[in-house]
C-alpha cells in the first residue's frame, strides 16, 4: 500500500507542483540562521527574493572549509540558499528603501536576521511595513530576540554562542572533558527551521482571519526547547544535568561502540523485544531476565546501565561493524555504523529515495546534494537551482514584480540603490559564465519552475 503512495516518487517530482507555490518571501538575511529558513520555504516552492547589500552581500558567500570553494561559492552558502532570486539592494540608500517598501507591499513574508531595531532605523521595519501591508508576516531572527538584557546590550551572536549559552555543548561532551562544539551549526539550522514553524502557522492564521503578525526568534531559546528532560530534571533534583558522551541516559542500552575493524557502531535496544534480540545476538539470552536488566526502568539505573553497556562493549569489540548491523537486522534491534559523509553520499537507500539528489544548474552545472527531507506525496519539495552572484536577478525583479522601465532601473543603479557583485570569490558569477545562462527575462515564459 505504502508502495502505491510512493511509487515513482523521484520521477513525480518533475511533474508535480510545490506546496508553497504563490507565496512570496522577502529575505534580508546573512550567514545561516537567517537564510536557512527561507531556504526551506524555497525548496517547498515559495518565491524567495534574497536582498543583499551590494557588492559583497551575504557574509556566508565565502565561508569555506579550510579555504575550499565549491564551484566558486562557500559550500555552507550553497547548501542553505537553493531556489532563490537574487536582489542587490543597498538598504542604506533612500531610493532602495522605496523599492524595498514596494516589494514588501507585494510580499507575504519578510525574514531578517539583523540586530534588534536595525530595520526600523532604516525605516523598513515592521511598524513601517505593516502600514502598507497589514497582512505581512514578519520574522526577525537573532541571538537574543528583540528585548531583554542581552538584546538591550546589543550583543552579537553566532551558532557557537548559542551552543554555549544554552548548555547544548555542555550536554554534548564526555564526562570530565570540556564542553564540545558540534561540527555543524545546530542552533542556526534549528532556529531557522523553528522560525518556519511560526511563519507557516502565522500563514494558516492569516488564511483564516486576514491578519498578519510579528514573530521574534532567539536561536538560543529554540535549541533550549529541544533539550527535553534537562530542565525538569534540574528543577526536581536541584542538580546540574551532566553529559554522558555517546551514551543515552534515557534509553538503555543506547551507545556508540568501538568495533574490531576500528569502526564505530551505534546500537539501541531498549524495548523488551529489542533487548531480547540483542541478548540473543550476543548468545547471552539469560541477560534478558537478569534482575538488573529485566525491564527498561531498572536497566536505566546508573549501575545497571554501566554494567550492561560494558558487556555490549566487550562483545562489539570482537566484531566488525558490519557483522553487528547484520545481527541487528536479524534480531530486530537497531544498529548503524557511524557514517561518514562519504557513506551518506554513497548509500544506495538515500540515493533511491532521492534524498541524494542531482541538481542540474545552468550556471554551476550538475552536482549532488541533499534534498529537502520531508517527502510529500502530492507536492514533492525539491532543490531546483543553485546560488547566484550578488544582484543577479535585479532586472527581472524590477521589471517583472515592480513594472520598472529600463530607464527607471538605470536610475536606480546610478543613485546606488541597486548594485551587483564585486569581482571577488563567492560574489561573482562562475568564470565560465556566458553572460546569459540562468538569467530570467521578464515575460519570456521561462518562469521559476524551469529556471
Amino acid at each position: 500500500m505504502a508502495e502505491k503512495t510512493w511509487e515513482n516518487y523521484k520521477e513525480k517530482k518533475r511533474s508535480r507542483p510545490l506546496p508553497l507555490k504563490g507565496i512570496r518571501v522577502l529575505e534580508v538575511c546573512t550567514l545561516i540562521l537567517g537564510p536557512a529558513g527561507p531556504g526551506f520555504l524555497a525548496m517547498m516552492g515559495a518565491e524567495v527574493i534574497k536582498c543583499e547589500i551590494p557588492p559583497l552581500g551575504d557574509t556566508c558567500r565565502d565561508m569555506t572549509p579550510f579555504g575550499y570553494l565549491f564551484k566558486g561559492y562557500g559550500p555552507v552558502f550553497t547548501h542553505n540558499n537553493p531556489n532563490k532570486y537574487w536582489l542587490g539592494l543597498d538598504l542604506h540608500n533612500s531610493e532602495a528603501k522605496k523599492v524595498f517598501m514596494e516589494l514588501a507591499a507585494k510580499s507575504d513574508i519578510i525574514e531578517e536576521n539583523l540586530r534588534p531595531g536595525v530595520m526600523e532605523s532604516w525605516n523598513v521595519g515592521y511598524r513601517q511595513i505593516k502600514e502598507v501591508n497589514p497582512g505581512i508576516i514578519y520574522i526577525a531572527k537573532n541571538g537574543f530576540g528583540q528585548w531583554g538584557k542581552y538584546a538591550a546590550e546589543n550583543r552579537p551572536s553566532n551558532d557557537g554562542a548559542s551552543q554555549g549559552f544554552s548548555g547544548y555543548a555542555w550536554m554534548s561532551s564526555f564526562p570530565g572533558q570540556p564542553p564540545l562544539k558540534s561540527r555543524i551549526y545546530p542552533c542556526d539550522d534549528y532556529g531557522g527551521l523553528m522560525g518556519e514553524m511560526a511563519v507557516l502557522a502565522a500563514l494558516h492564521y492569516r488564511e483564516r482571519t486576514g491578519k498578519g503578525q510579528y514573530i521574534e526568534l532567539s536561536q538560543s531559546e529554540n535549541i533550549m526547547r529541544a533539550m527535553s528532560w534537562v530542565w525538569p530534571y534540574q528543577q526536581i533534583t536541584g542538580k546540574t544535568a551532566m553529559p554522558a558522551g555517546n551514551r543515552d541516559v534515557s534509553i538503555c542500552p543506547a551507545d556508540t561502540f568501538y568495533c574490531a575493524d576500528s569502526a564505530f557502531v551505534a546500537i539501541a535496544a531498549p524495548a523488551p523485544e529489542e533487548f531480547g534480540g540483542l541478548c540473543a545476538a550476543m548468545c547471552r539470552p539469560e541477560l534478558a531476565s537478569d534482575p538488573r536488566f529485566k525491564d527498561h526502568l531498572t536497566r536505566l539505573k546508573e549501575d545497571n546501565a554501566t554494567e550492561i553497556l560494558k558487556i555490549i562493549a566487550d562483545w562489539a569489540r570482537a566484531r566488525t561493524a558490519e557483522e553487528i548491523e547484520e545481527m541487528a537486522e536479524k534480531h530486530g534491534f537497531a544498529a548503524s555504523r557511524v557514517y561518514t559523509v562519504k557513506d551518506v553520499a554513497e548509500d544506495r537507500h538515500f540515493q533511491e529515495r532521492g534524498f541524494i539528489t542531482n541538481v542540474d544548474d545552468p550556471l554551476l552545472g550538475q552536482y549532488h546534494t541533499y534534498e529537502f527531507p520531508v517527502m510529500m506525496s502530492m507536492t514533492p519539495p525539491k532543490v531546483k537551482w543553485s546560488v547566484r552572484a550578488v544582484g543577479f536577478d535585479n532586472e527581472y525583479i524590477m521589471a517583472h514584480h515592480l513594472g520598472k522601465s529600463e530607464d527607471e532601473i538605470k536610475q536606480l543603479y546610478e543613485c546606488g540603490a541597486l548594485g551587483k557583485w564585486a569581482d571577488v570569490p563567492g560574489r561573482r558569477p562562475p568564470a565560465d559564465w556566458d553572460g546569459k545562462a540562468g538569467l530570467i527575462v521578464a515575460g519570456d515564459g521561462k518562469d521559476k519552475e524551469q529556471r
Binding site: 505504502a2 503512495t5 511598524r127 554555549g164 530542565w231 555517546n246 537497531a334 517527502m375
Partner: protein, 444 residues
C-alpha cells in the same frame, strides 16, 4: 504610526509570553491524531502543533507507550518519565488498541474527524492493520497522513526490521563522525576513549526530524487550503538530521574530502571556536575580518599580531593557519574569566577602535547556569507550567514570541488514558456503559 515608543518596548508590549493567554491561537481549527509508538519524534511533532493551538489526541496502547519509560537514569516524577513529561504537553491522552479490529474501527471514526495523523510504526504495519494511507484516504480524502521512521516509507532499507532511535539517526547522518575531539597522534581508543565520533547529548536526532515534519504538515495544510487535497508525508530521521550538515556534502561532492573531527574549533570558519579561560570556556566568533581584528585589539595584540595589515579572512580558515593561531588566542583567553571576556567585548562595542564592531564572546554554560540566567528567565523560557496533575514544572516553552498568535504550554502531560471518557464521549458519543465495555474488552 506610533513611532515615539522605543521599538523594544513596543514589541515587548505585544509579544511578551506573559500575555500569551490573552491572544488567539493559530492552529485551533486543526485536529491531530498522534499514534506515535516508541518514538519521541512523533510526540515532539505533535507538541509543536499543539503549542500553536492544534487539538492533539495522543493515542496510546492500553498499557501506555514504551516511550514513557525513556527517562534519564530511570527516574520517574509522580509516576512519569521526564522526557514524556516535557512532550505530553497540551495533548488529550487516550488509549486505543489498534491490534484489535474494534480499535481500528474507532480509529477510522476519529480519522473522519481529523486533519492530521502522525504515526511511527515500521512501514507496512498500518497497511497490514487496514489503516494505512491508501485505506484512510478513502474515509477522509483531505487527511494529511504523516510517518516518521528510521528509514522512511520507500527505498531498499524501508523494509528493515530495525527500529528508530535518536542515537542511530545521529550516527547514520554523517554528522556524528565529524564531531568530537581529535585523537592525539600515536594514541588510541583505550587511552583516549573520548576522542571519538561524538553525538549531541540532547535528542536532536528526534526533535529535528519531528520539527521538519511539523513544518511539512503546515505546508501541506496550506496546499490543502488552496486545493482541498490531502496527502502523505514521509520523514526518515537520519535524512532529516543529515540535511543540517551544512558544508560536508558539497565539500565531499566537489573535492572528495571527508569532513573530520576538529575538536571545538571549526573546519569552515575563523574566528569560530571554544577557547579556554580562567574559569571555564567561552565561544569566540568573528566571521568578518573586522571582528577578528577587533578580537586582536580587545586582547591588546593589535600591533604584535599585525592586525592592521590583515586583508583576507579566508586565509585564516585554512587548517595550518588555524592550528598556528589557536594557541596564540588561547594564551590570551586563559588570562581572563568568562565574565571578564564577555564584558570586554561589550565595552569594545562602545569604545574600541573598531566599535561598534566587536567579536562575539559568549560563556559556555552548564544547563544549570542557563536555567538561572536572568535574561532567559525574563523572556519566559523557564516559566514553570502550573499543571493540575504534576504541579509547577519547568519545561522549556515560549520559544516563539508572536504578536498575534503566540505559542503556549497549557499543561505538561497526562497519565495513560486520562482523557478517555471526555474524548470518547465528545468524538464517539460513547456513554459510560460503552466505555466500560471497551475497557473490559481491552480495546481502550
Amino acid at each position: 504610526m506610533d513611532k515615539e515608543q522605543a521599538w523594544s518596548d513596543w514589541i515587548k508590549e505585544r509579544d511578551d509570553p506573559r500575555i500569551a493567554h490573552t491572544r488567539p491561537e493559530a492552529l485551533d481549527d486543526i485536529t491531530v491524531l498522534d499514534l506515535s509508538h516508541k518514538s519521541f519524534a512523533g510526540c515532539y511533532c505533535s507538541s509543536m502543533l499543539s503549542e500553536f493551538g492544534a487539538k492533539v489526541l495522543r493515542i496510546e496502547p492500553p498499557e501506555g507507550d514504551f516511550i514513557r519509560t525513556c527517562t534519564p537514569y530511570g527516574m520517574l516524577y509522580k509516576g512519569e518519565g521526564l522526557n514524556y513529561l516535557t512532550e505530553g504537553r497540551n495533548k488529550f491522552h487516550i488509549t486505543l488498541d489498534l491490534k484489535k479490529p474494534e480499535g481500528r474501527e474507532i480509529l477510522k471514526s476519529l480519522v473522519g474527524q481529523a486533519d492530521v495523523l502522525i504515526e511511527t510504526y515500521k512501514p507496512g504495519v498500518m497497511d497490514g492493520w487496514g489503516i494505512g494511507y491508501e485505506q484512510l484516504k478513502e474515509i477522509n480524502p483531505k487527511l494529511i497522513f504523516t510517518s516518521i521512521t528510521a528509514y522512511g516509507q520507500f527505498g531498499p532499507m524501508s523494509q528493515s526490521r530495525m527500529p528508530d532511535y535518536d542515537n542511530i539517526a545521529q550516527a547514520r547522518s554523517g554528522i556524528q563522525s565529524g564531531t568530537g575531539e581529535v585523537m592525539p597522534e600515536g594514541k588510541g581508543y583505550d587511552e583516549y576513549p573520548w576522542a571519538v565520533p561524538t553525538k549531541a547529548g540532547p535528542w536532536i536526532g528526534w526533535a529535528q526530524p519531528a520539527t521538519f515534519m511539523a513544518v511539512g504538515i503546515l505546508a501541506a495544510l496550506h496546499w490543502r487550503w488552496m486545493t482541498g487535497e490531502g496527502q502523505a508525508l514521509d520523514v526518515a530521521t537520519a535524512e532529516a538530521y543529515a540535511r543540517f550538515d551544512d558544508y560536508a556534502a558539497l565539500w565531499y561532492e566537489g573535492a572528495g574530502v571527508v569532513a573530520e573531527r576538529f575538536g571545538s574549533m571549526d573546519t569552515a570558519a575563523w574566528l569560530y571556536c571554544f577557547a579556554p579561560t580562567k574559569d571555564g570556556a567561552v565561544f569566540l566568533g568573528g566571521l568578518r575580518l573586522e571582528m577578528w581584528q577587533a578580537f586582536a585589539d580587545m586582547v591588546g595584540k593589535w600591533d604584535e599580531w599585525g592586525a592592521a595589515d590583515w586583508t583576507n579572512l579566508t586565509v585564516f580558515t585554512e587548517k595550518e593557519q588555524q592550528l598556528k593561531w589557536a594557541p596564540l588566542v588561547f594564551a590570551e583567553t586563559r588570562k581572563y574569566t568568562n565574565e571578564e571576556l564577555v564584558n570586554m567585548s561589550i565595552e569594545y562595542a562602545q569604545k574600541g577602535r573598531l566599535a561598534p564592531i566587536t567579536p562575539v564572546v559568549a560563556p559556555v554554560c552548564s544547563p544549570e547556569e542557563t536555567m538561572k540566567d536572568a535574561n532567559w528567565l525574563d523572556r519566559g523560557i523557564f516559566t514553570p507550567v502550573k499543571d493540575p496533575v504534576y504541579g509547577e514544572l519547568i519545561v522549556a516553552q515560549a520559544q516563539h514570541k508572536m504578536s498575534e498568535t503566540p505559542v503556549r504550554t497549557k499543561w505538561v502531560c497526562r497519565p495513560v488514558g486520562y482523557n478517555n471518557d471526555q474524548i470518547y464521549s465528545e468524538y464517539m458519543n460513547f456513554d459510560a456503559a460503552k466505555l466500560d465495555e471497551l475497557k473490559k474488552a481491552g480495546v481502550i
